[in-house]
Amino acid sequence: MEQHIESHIIQSSDDEFIINVGPQHPSTHGVLHLQLKLDGEKIVDLRPFLGYIHRGIEKMSESLTYKQFIYLTSRMDYLSAHINNQACCLVIEKGLQTEVPERAKVIRTLMAELTRLASHQLWWGSTGLDMGAVSPFFYAFREREMILEIFEETCGSRLTMNYCVPGGVMNDIHPDFVRKVKQLIKQFRENIHEYDELLTGNPIFQSRTQGIGYLSKEDAIALSCSGPVARASGISCDVRKKNPYDAYDRVSFDEIIATEGDCFARYRVRLEEMKQSMNIIEQLIDNIPTGEYRTKIKGIIKLPVGEYYQRVETARGELGVYLVSDGSNKPYRIKFRTPNFSNLGALKPMSLGGKIGDLVAIMASLDLIIPDIDR
């Protein structure tokens, strides 16, 4: 084992030196550990070391019932907590072959899009922060705070909402929900030009991101990237379009695709996705069907023996849940295909030959959530 680890550590010559970025470092946004071989400021080699926040969520799920293990997944990609829960609920519903009420489907989709908005806003703020511009962070949090308040009212929690349950959602929406969401969309549409003024149009920001961290279409496919990272390289991979779940089949929205494949393209894709999320919310918010918000499901869920797979689009890409059932009340095996783990693979080809400052810009454009990599 020791030998195995040793062979992974980068060896350096006299001209080059090695620095460890992380596990405690401001720009890794968590406990990611990168080992860099530098020639002056130039990155010659890069190796990520994982496992600092491995909690064994997949293994723990095997000893929890179907209703319990859903809540663990909130702690994977904590910024897409709702979408993770949604994926697990969908896979269980697939196994049970239950039909979810229309109202629940729309509420789930609304919540998922709000989650995506909140996640992208945090990403936008921290991108500015990584580039050395502190002020955008606070502007991003202005609207994000409104979304979190909506979550708090309806779900009782701001980040890890645990709102999805098999068969629907846990509670009905708060009476103020519709009004507040409309107010949020109105305010966000009024304020989104500030996002462009603060970062997008800034010449320093553009020169820091344009042409930096190029990821070709072929590389993106080979590394199985997904989400905005892949779409910025010209791959059409939006699960909401390709494989619609819940209420996505009844809304019309554009899949944002850019072909440049650099940091600025990924930035633009996410900014446009925020606008598309608002479009989806606007289409659904006036048409929430009346009726039940949850179908009654037995207290103890037992899935039929078999294998089930469901994929969803989180804020960072494609999340796949693969579940094997042996007929008992607990899953036999669960495997998550998380977007950040695959996207992390693109870090090395993107950043070799760049400067340390480029690495920070690339990490920001990948929008990595470390607990999602380690699980």
């Binding site: 580039m131 020169s207 400052g357």
Partner: protein, 352 residues
């Protein structure tokens, strides 16, 4: 007043020792002034940053958080100054004091008002530019001796940055020196009695002012040129390993340097302590004359200071190669051409 103090000192200590006691007193006054101004600028920076970011900033310590800086200094004084293992201990401990001393030294020739100037030497501007470039040695010492690769990278960045941007700042200063025909601080201010250089120097002076603003912000290691301590890249750059009062020294030096740059800019371009006069507006000019010179001086200094703070909270950071490209490919050639234009303007006497 000053003569009276001098006489008293003479009476008490005798003619042999009185000058030395006087020097010590003046030194203490300057240190107090610097510390008070640094505290004010730290408070300003926090409040301005907060307002730009839609928050209130410090509010708890004192009325509107005015005592926050003192609370922070008190906290830092109680902290242990750690020394990393295998650090070069001597250099490690000298570095913060060297950086701070250099900043204090640069205050010597600055004229706060017609009567308040410590040392009116005939090469005052040259003295400030040369003494402030010693500061980079302290930064390099800190980065090298910390035994930390991040510190070393930060120090090397800082060295490259300060050395290159000093050229542009120097050339911008030279333009004004040439127009006013004097290297002494009081001489430059006197030459602006009939109009500040930014007004009567026409285009060369304005270009020189812009170059000076950019280059001096870069020399200060502040955003958007804060690569030496780029938080997201190098954690804290050259002062990563410093703690307690030694860290406070670097912090104080940064804010002191901000003041020196603002004061130098004020002296060179904005007329020092000269009031604002507009030709043929007799009443207005009279009113302006009523405002004491030191208020004029500090008013202008705080406006320049606000500019520096404004830069920091709105711009993203440049990358190291972009930073050097900006200097060597744009600022320096423009500055050179501008110097020649300035020389022609001065030679033809087009300054009015």
């Amino acid at each position: 007043m000053i003569h009276w103090i001098g006489q008293k000192l003479n009476d008490i200590f005798g003619p042999l020792w009185a000058p030395y006691v006087g020097y010590i007193l003046v030194g203490l006054v300057i240190i107090t002034l610097v510390v008070v101004m640094a505290v004010i600028s730290i408070y300003l920076e926090r409040k301005i940053a907060a307002f730009m970011q839609m928050r209130l900033g410090p509010m708890r310590v004192g009325k509107w958080g005015t005592l926050q800086a003192f609370a922070d200094v008190f906290k830092l004084m109680l902290k242990e100054s750690l020394t990393p293992a295998q650090a070069d201990k001597q250099l490690f401990h000298i570095a913060p004091y060297l950086v701070l001393t250099v900043s204090f030294l640069a205050f010597a020739p600055i004229a706060f008002s017609p009567t308040l100037q410590l040392w009116d030497m005939n090469i005052g501007v040259l003295y400030i530019t040369s003494i402030s470039s010693v500061g980079v040695i302290g930064i390099l010492m800190a980065g090298w001796s910390s035994n930390n690769k991040y510190s070393l990278l930060g120090a090397m960045r800082s060295g490259a940055q300060i050395v290159s941007y000093e050229l542009s700042a120097g050339i911008a200063i030279l333009t004004i020196v040439m127009m006013s025909g004097s290297l002494s601080v009081s001489g430059i201010i006197q030459s602006q009695a009939d109009g500040w250089w930014i007004f009567k120097g026409h285009i060369p002076a304005i270009i020189a002012f812009v170059i000076f603003a950019i280059a001096s912000t870069a020399e200060l290691n502040r955003a958007p040129f804060d690569l030496a301590e780029a938080e997201q890249e190098l954690t804290a750059g050259f002062h990563t390993e410093y703690s307690g009062m030694q860290f406070a020294m670097f912090f104080l030096a940064e804010y002191t340097n901000m003041f020196i740059v603002s004061m130098l800019g004020t002296t060179l371009f904005l007329g020092g302590w000269m009031p604002l006069h507009i030709a043929n507006w007799e009443t207005f000019n009279h009113l302006m004359d009523k405002i004491p010179p030191f208020l004029w001086f500090f008013g202008k200094v705080f406006i320049s200071l606000f500019m520096i703070i404004w830069f920091r909270w709105t711009f993203p950071r440049l990358r190291i190669d972009q930073l050097l490209k900006l200097e060597w490919k744009y600022l320096l050639p423009i500055g050179m051409v501008n110097l020649v234009i300035g020389a022609i303007v001065t030679w033809l006497g087009w300054i009015f």
